[in-house]
Symmetry: C2
DNA sequence: CGGCGCCTTGAACCAAGTCAAGCTCTGTGG
DNA sequence: CCACAGAGCTTGACTTGGTTCAAGGCGCCG
């Protein structure tokens, strides 16, 4: 079976980084592999680090966090995923991260062996798998860059990234302050203080603590330097 | 042409993370693409960020740094590569990093279009490309983890990583203190101080400033916590 | 309306950064 | 062969951004 994506003029032309989800969108359907829907409730584990990586997931609604627990008990949140995003794709036999639902989350579950076996026959599918991993790599490197910057820069980047991914200046944060802190390598107190600081500078408004509206993008852009 | 790696019982069984170079080793020869040797002198640029990503490289001897310049003039070193390592592989049309030789470095140059075209015909090559990018992803995530830790933890991880990659307790550092600092998100002064600290704790010895011998791995392992 | 999580705010502290010498190689020219 | 110059590394004193510790406030749900 040939993937729909093969319609593109050049099978080896890749999606731009800025339009992160185009390639993934309805990935399950586009490659024609059987996908079974499944729902996870808030804070439920979807899979754990070092478990057999038998499935990959496409988010239909809700959102998830992928993370790694460190031996000293600290938690590093690697990424947040939203509707349309894929997660859980591995080249090895085991997951290298854990994943939990941030909110009630509906996903499509794809059998890894089926996808990989398809990839051996359809080079377009193989290219897509590579492309997905490559995009994760970009994200991971960007994240590493972030971790070298100051607290205000990290928080500003985080807000702008969310805003861009949702195509909206009004953000409904599905994650807690602790989640944000563990993602940015800060403490909840610092995240909170920086948000207050942004609010005082009129860069953002906070109708409730889980809702952030970007009022002055320029100020935040300025923070990123 | 079928790649040598296809001898493996299961074409879709992937190399363990711990044996990082097995898959890459003599990659150029293993996939049978024409590779032209080329030599770069110390500090020479091999390619620049955002240039067309027409080639990928396999290191024969020497070593390189890949990095990103930030708008504020800071430099983040993403990774160091050594003989046997591959670098410069992109899914997009442009490089997303710059690369420079740390020392006099000999590389094999492979045309990206040739490798990619081969991948559309040989699914084993496609799998290898995916696998290489996936390994880079592991490295990038490990690096992000590192950047959340304390200065001693970062330096200890760096030394242990180098030691493991070279399979030796005696390290000849091909990079400057500034390179190390830019990789670990620290200042040269902090790197220097931490090394002195390790020396006083008899965890390492420093015959010269570019040579480090790991004397007590347990102390360093303990730092990583 | 009361209790419990989660978030915010304040004050004291500390790890790493900054600034400023001084030291150690290495290569060069007298 | 030695003196010197320069780059890179180390060390010390001081500053600072972010953490830690400790209250206090807000909102949500029983």
């Amino acid at each position: 079976m040939l993937s729909e994506a093969a319609r593109e003029s050049d099978a080896w032309q890749f999606a731009r980084q800025t339009t992160v989800s185009i390639d993934d969108h309805a990935f399950a359907r586009s490659i024609g592999v059987i996908a079974t829907p499944k729902t996870f409730s808030r804070d439920a584990e979807i899979y754990g680090d070092e478990e057999p990586a038998d499935y990959l997931y496409e988010i239909v609604s809700g959102s998830v966090r992928t993370f790694k627990m460190l031996m000293d008990g600290r938690r590093q949140i690697v990424a947040f995923y939203q509707p349309g995003d894929l997660f859980g794709l591995e080249t090895g036999e085991e997951y290298t991260l854990s994943t939990e639902a941030l909110t009630e989350t509906k996903v499509l579950v794809l059998k890894r062996s089926a996808v990989i076996s398809l990839a051996t026959r359809d080079s377009e599918v193989a290219r897509q798998l590579w492309s997905i991993t490559s995009r994760e790599l970009q994200r991971a490197r960007l994240h590493a860059l972030l971790l070298c910057k100051s607290a205000p820069e990290r928080v500003a980047s985080f807000l702008l990234d969310l805003s861009e991914r949702n195509q909206s200046a009004c953000l409904e944060l599905s994650m807690s302050r602790q989640d944000i802190a563990d993602h940015l390598g800060l403490t909840i107190e610092t995240v909170s203080r920086v948000l207050s600081q942004f609010e005082q500078a009129s860069a953002i408004a906070r109708p409730t603590c889980r809702r952030v509206e970007i009022r002055n993008r320029t100020v935040l852009d300025g923070m990123i330097g």
